[in-house]
């Protein structure tokens, strides 16, 4: 049970305090309700580029990192399709430094041309490092674009292409900031060796005077149900053929999300999982397999990926995969196997909860989804999943009409 208190400042900033006196540290986590899904299709990669610009100095503080390092702290940030998150860890005695820095950059950035110019280059190098300069690097882009036709999950957070990042203008940066980075669109979590009184006082002092801004109304095109299987063939200079397959699942708050999540654990993730045991060990068709999902807020996808053993044809490989999925539809998962994936979930949660940083991040995330207290009901929701539901959902999800297949051939 993770304890916390929550209050809202008059400008709409939600504040959550989670005390843990066993650590000498404090964590500040600020989550903004904006991600790559909120981007203009001709300006993709912007939310992430913007995250970089948040470190380029704010209206009253020329350097963000230095004062924090001087206070013995460190920080980082990440952007997903759904949200942007900034976090700091520092000695609890110096907590106010975090309030000072974070509130100033929520007030306003410095909007420097030099910072934009440099970060455009840095993000282009990030794009190259992770998506261009390695074999199969473009798979994420291709499979998302194949699976989504309306919803903005069709592009990745890094952006569709380098040119979108190269063309970003300072004007775009300003507009984006004042639209999304307002108190009313943010959640502040302070955790660790702190008191509620102190956090309340500091929050009012540093964040209280920032104009509320307008609540961002998200109105995204939702993906209509897929009626026909889609296939794409790619030939590239890679050493091995690979097979990728994607199926649409449910939004994060849908009860069936938990069923889909456990289905991926049945299929993959351990040495005793079905895909590994059958495809890699017994039939020796793939040299590695993985099956996962992104856990996105709007309806996400389950993604299968595997590299084929040399000499195996794509047909053989795909048929064997389909046979495993057919078995899931045909025969209910045994209680024993279901218990196994529930036990795994229980220990994953326990291990994640060891770190204050991770607890702070989760609290912000559940609050963004709707209510921070949901952090304490997750295990219950997983435990409620039945074998019958697993079977029913596997029939819906692993329907050929709901699938997107990428055949990635070695030249």
């Amino acid at each position: 049970m993770i304890q916390f208190e929550k209050f809202t400042l008059p400008n709409g900033l939600r504040v959550i305090v989670h005390q843990d006196l066993s650590t000498p540290m404090a964590v500040m986590n600020i989550m903004y309700d904006v991600g790559a899904r909120d981007e203009n299709p001709d300006r993709t990669g912007f939310a992430h580029l913007f995250e970089h610009l948040m470190f380029g100095g704010s209206v009253n503080i020329p350097e963000y990192d230095e004062p924090l390092q001087m206070a013995g702290g460190e920080n980082n940030a990440y952007t997903t399709n759904d949200l942007t998150n900034y976090y700091i860890q520092l000695p609890a005695e110096n907590l106010e430094t975090a309030f000072w820095l974070e509130s100033d950059r929520m007030l306003s950035l410095a909007f420097s041309e030099k910072s934009l110019d440099t970060q455009r280059k840095v993000v282009c190098e990030e794009f190259k490092e992770h998506y261009l300069n390695k074999p199969y690097g473009d798979v994420g882009h291709k499979i998302m674009a194949l699976s989504y036709k309306q919803h903005p999950y069709r592009w990745m957070t890094i952006g569709k292409e380098l040119s979108h990042i190269e063309n970003a203008k300072l004007e775009d940066v300003k507009n984006f900031f004042f639209k999304h980075y307002r108190p009313v669109n943010a959640i502040l979590v302070v955790a660790g060796n702190v008191t509620v009184e102190n956090v309340r006082e500091l929050a009012e002092k540093w964040f209280g005077g920032i104009p509320a801004g307008e609540k961002y109304q998200r109105n995204l095109p939702q993906e209509s149900p897929q009626r026909e299987g889609r296939k794409l063939e790619v030939h590239a200079d890679v050493p091995l053929d690979a097979l990728y397959k994607c199926w649409h699942i449910y939004p994060r708050l849908d009860k069936r999300y938990y069923v889909a999540d456990l289905l991926t654990d049945i299929l993959s993730g351990g040495g005793s999982s079905r895909l590994y045991q059958t495809l890699v060990k017994e039939k020796k068709l793939f040299s590695n397999v993985d099956c996962s999902h992104h856990g996105t807020a709007d309806a996400g996808v389950i993604i299968f990926e595997g590299k084929l053993v040399k000499g195996i044809t794509m047909d053989e490989a795909e048929n064997a995969l389909n046979e495993i999925l057919e078995q899931l539809k045909r025969e209910a998962v045994t209680e024993n196997e279901l218990q196994k994936v529930k036990n795994k979930t229980e220990s994953m949660i326990a291990f994640e909860d060891m770190s204050v940083m991770s607890r702070a991040n989760s609290l912000a995330y559940y609050e963004l989804l709707g209510d921070a207290s949901w952090i304490n009901n997750e295990l219950e929701k997983y435990n409620a999943v039945t074998s019958k539901e697993m079977q029913e959902e596997s029939r819906h999800i692993f329907d050929e009409k709901n699938s997107n297949t990428l055949y990635y051939y070695a030249n």
Binding site: P91, E93, V122, K310
Partner: protein, 424 residues
């Protein structure tokens, strides 16, 4: 009116009194040393079995790594699938890793399941059969993985720089080729397993919420394992003659993987701790000289880092980055320019204070929780140090002078001592 231009008062982290929570040592009936930390709120355990079974001891490339990998792929009573199913049923995570001097098995589990899991770990140590069938699958899949990795410039650069610094025959510099996987036989792997696991030099590290009867269940499961007194002999490094390399790996590559490295003594050398401070200034954190210049000013890279390698016998000081194809040479030049600056001019007091505070804050944060604490202890024990190493580090961070740092830069940051490599 709030003055936002003025930073709040801080307490300099150098004023913190940091202490390393002592670990409790248990000695099993057979003499195996177990180091434990009992702490944390969650009912979880991390247990690691560290064997003197790294590639230092192999007579043929990949035998140590293969033996380590196949540990959980079959015993005389259980198949690989049954072993995995057992650990996974209890929601636990069983991993194995092979390093140079050591190789280990590690288990993360809920404390209440330890009793169901430890007997099977014992079975892996005493009764693995390393089936031929498993070896064949492993060999094939590792060879496939290697062909993919060899397309990546960062992979090629990292293994090449180690081979240059230590020599291709040295355990730290040795790397795998497809044909090496082919030539490893089950007999060789089994012989290695018998010599270094079944009869072993074993040390254990345990952290988390410890069960009340820990000592008893450890003795029941591991107190009678046969002990082998293995020593890590000296294998001299044979560094390459030539220092500068440019390798073309992918004609369409859009980035170059840059590695610049020099040999460096191990943790027992008096300069090792001091150089940690110099290294932090050079490239050890986000505010470092290299990051500030090459990423934040010039935008040549997404990240650039420097560090001392975590080896027991001998270390190397390494600078590593992936930079745009056209700015590779410019990046290398900037790295040397930063070294020169550190040689020529003392670090100013404000920057030094920032680095001291930053390093102290990181250590403070890193002493948080049982798993972090045990990993500090493991580092100390496996390097044959004691806790004075920790306190000396703290003391050095607090007191090292700009003049000493400059002297170290002049001693070590000489371009001619560095191997330099760009792989595109």
């Amino acid at each position: 009116m709030l003055n936002r231009t003025k930073a709040p008062q801080i307490i300099d982290a150098v004023n913190f009194k940091l202490s390393l929570k002592p670990c409790v040592k248990i000695i099993l009936k057979n003499g195996v040393e177990v180091y434990t930390i009992d702490a944390g709120a969650e009912e979880v355990l991390s247990i690691e079995w560290v064997f003197a079974a790294g590639n230092w001891f192999e007579e043929k490339n990949l035998v140590a790594a293969t033996a380590n990998f196949l540990l959980k792929n079959g015993t005389s009573k259980k198949t690989a699938f049954e072993i995995n199913e057992h650990f996974e049923y209890y929601g636990s995570f069983l991993n194995k890793t092979c390093h140079s001097e050591t190789a280990s098995i590690s288990l993360h589990c809920l404390t209440r399941h330890a009793g169901e899991l430890l007997p099977v770990v014992r079975e892996l140590i005493m009764d693995s059969t390393m089936p031929e069938e498993e070896l064949i699958t492993y060999r094939q899949n590792m060879k496939q993985r290697l062909t993919v990795n060899l397309k990546k410039s960062d992979f090629v650069a990292s293994r090449t720089i180690d081979a240059l610094v230590y020599g291709e025959q040295h355990p730290y510099g040795r790397y795998s080729r497809g044909e090496d996987f082919d030539s490893v036989t089950r007999d060789e792997v089994l012989a290695f397993y018998r010599k270094y696991y079944q009869k072993s030099k074993l040390t254990m590290f345990i952290a988390g919420k410890l069960p009340n009867n820990l000592e008893q269940i450890l003795n029941d499961n591991f107190g009678d394992l046969p002990i082998n007194d293995v020593t890590v002999g000296d294998i001299p490094a044979s560094p390459a003659e030539e220092k500068k390399y440019r390798i073309s790996n992918d004609p369409d590559g859009v980035q170059g993987s840059i590695r610049i490295a020099r040999p460096f003594p191990n943790r027992h050398h008096p300069d090792f701790i001091k150089v940690q401070v110099l290294n932090t200034i050079l490239g050890g954190f986000f505010g470092s000289r290299l990051m500030t210049n090459i990423r934040e000013d010039k935008g040549y890279t997404y990240g650039i880092h420097s560090y001392l390698q975590n080896n027991i016998k001998q270390s190397a000081w390494l600078i590593s980055t992936e930079a745009g194809r056209d700015v590779g040479e410019a990046t290398v030049n900037e790295v040397y320019a930063e070294m020169k600056l550190l040689r020529d001019e003392p670090v100013d007091e404000e920057e030094l204070q920032l680095v001291r505070n930053y390093m102290m804050g990181i250590i403070l944060g890193d002493l948080d929780g049982p798993f972090h604490i045990i990993s500090r202890w493991k580092n100390i024990i496996l390097n044959n140090l004691d806790e004075t190493y920790f306190y000396q580090s703290i003391d050095t961070i607090k007191t090292i002078s700009a003049r000493e740092i400059q002297a170290l830069a002049n001693k070590y940051l000489q371009p001619e001592s560095f191997y330099e490599l760009i792989v595109v």
